[in-house]
Amino acid sequence: MPEQTLAEAWGLVPAVLGIVAVGLVLGVVVAVVDRIVVFGASGAAVEPIRSSARLLVEQRRTTLAPDRLLWRTGCVAVPTLALLSLAVVPVAGRTLWSTGADLVWFNAMEALLWAAVWLVGWGPNAVHALTGGYRFLGQGLAYELPLMFALITAGLAAGSLRTTDVLAAQERLWFVVTMPVAFVVFVASAAAFAFWGPFAAPAAADIAGGVTSELSGVDRLLVEAGRTVFLGASAAMAAALFLGGESGPWLPGPLWHLLKTLAVVAALVWVGRRMPVLRPDRTVEVGWMVLVPLTLLQALVVAVLVLNGFYA
């Protein structure tokens, strides 16, 4: 039964529309929680909607001699990739698309975000935006390898790269218990891919907003929506890969997954908003000297457990 994909169960078009709707709702949820943590609860529920509507009608400004083709491509790619990464995140126990390489698909969409965000920085032909784009890549060099090892660790324990198989392997024990390092690295990398919280240096105030500095109107809406949707999608993926997804007593499965996703979002925003922005030139050494060995060790521990039949 869980082998069936969402597209087969609902039909292709309704399933795609459903996933897009889920993505947008997750994005709004992230924006609302963020607003509550920063400014308090008053008006938080309508604020993302209101500012989106304002950006939609805002006139777009431009810069001198921008590379318009690449700029627009980058702006459209950011939310598109965020939604595409949702294709392998289980919704109601099924993924939109199920292949033997779901985890790699998710990681590939993240890697394409590198290209997209760099393009957003490159396009306007402006120094702050370009600096932000290069900061994003510089940070990426620090967290990409630990993130890959974290994803592979979950796949290793499940014996499959298919998300639904990873879900099924956690019926007895959530993966977060045996792979806490992988869980933390996965969530932190999600924040870094959305250049959000402590990883917001690519869009920091010291470079006047960085990659987002020259964005206005629809372009800004697309990029900001892409960031929040990606954070929401990653929270849902983290809940599925490490927190058992739908497993839980009394309540129906999808509700459990939703609650766990909300918990991850809340924790991510609450912790992320309380940390200072990391300097991008200080992240690579930490990534390679601390996180790579730690995640490799984590994978080794899990591999030994797999050989001992711990997850069987």
Binding site: T73, A101, A108, N125, L137, R282
Partner: protein
Amino acid sequence: MLSDLSGWAIAVVAVLGALSVAAGVAVFVVDSMARATFALLASFLAVAGVLLVLDLVYLAVVTALMMTMEMAIMAVFMIMFMMNPAGLMPMTMVHNAKGSAVVGAGAFVVLTVGIWTIDWPTRNPERPADSTRQLGEAIMGSHMLVMLVIGIALFATILAGTVLATARGRYDRFGAGLTAKRPDDPVPGGLRR
């Protein structure tokens, strides 16, 4: 192999193939480093799309993943080495035009002759249930030696590239006797060493 595919799939493969060649041509036609980089990426993504249509999902996704990261890292090298790091001034993407045309034509002839003359193995009648698993078993089993050799060669390439790229070695960082407690770096790393 093509006979297993539906008409739609063959059409999509043809379109993606044409797209990848067109994007490949665009690499040499455009006059900006960024556009050349992303034309190349578009070409690779079209190839990944072909693999996807052929139901080789893992290979398709890994192609997209690796090529995207390669292009991103190329952008990092662009700022490290170019006189014009932003690359905003129009510049030609062609160097040594005659020599590269000869090399390109030679490679095309060798590959085409190879493709049409090699006695390709015929596939078993039934398709594998999970091509990812089959690929993993091949890499970790019958093809392990060749994959290990490739892995070591790639690793050596990475090290050589880094050695060539960096102007500073450990003697610059830790002194002539390698005795300094803390490295003398222009940009301090994230760890307090």
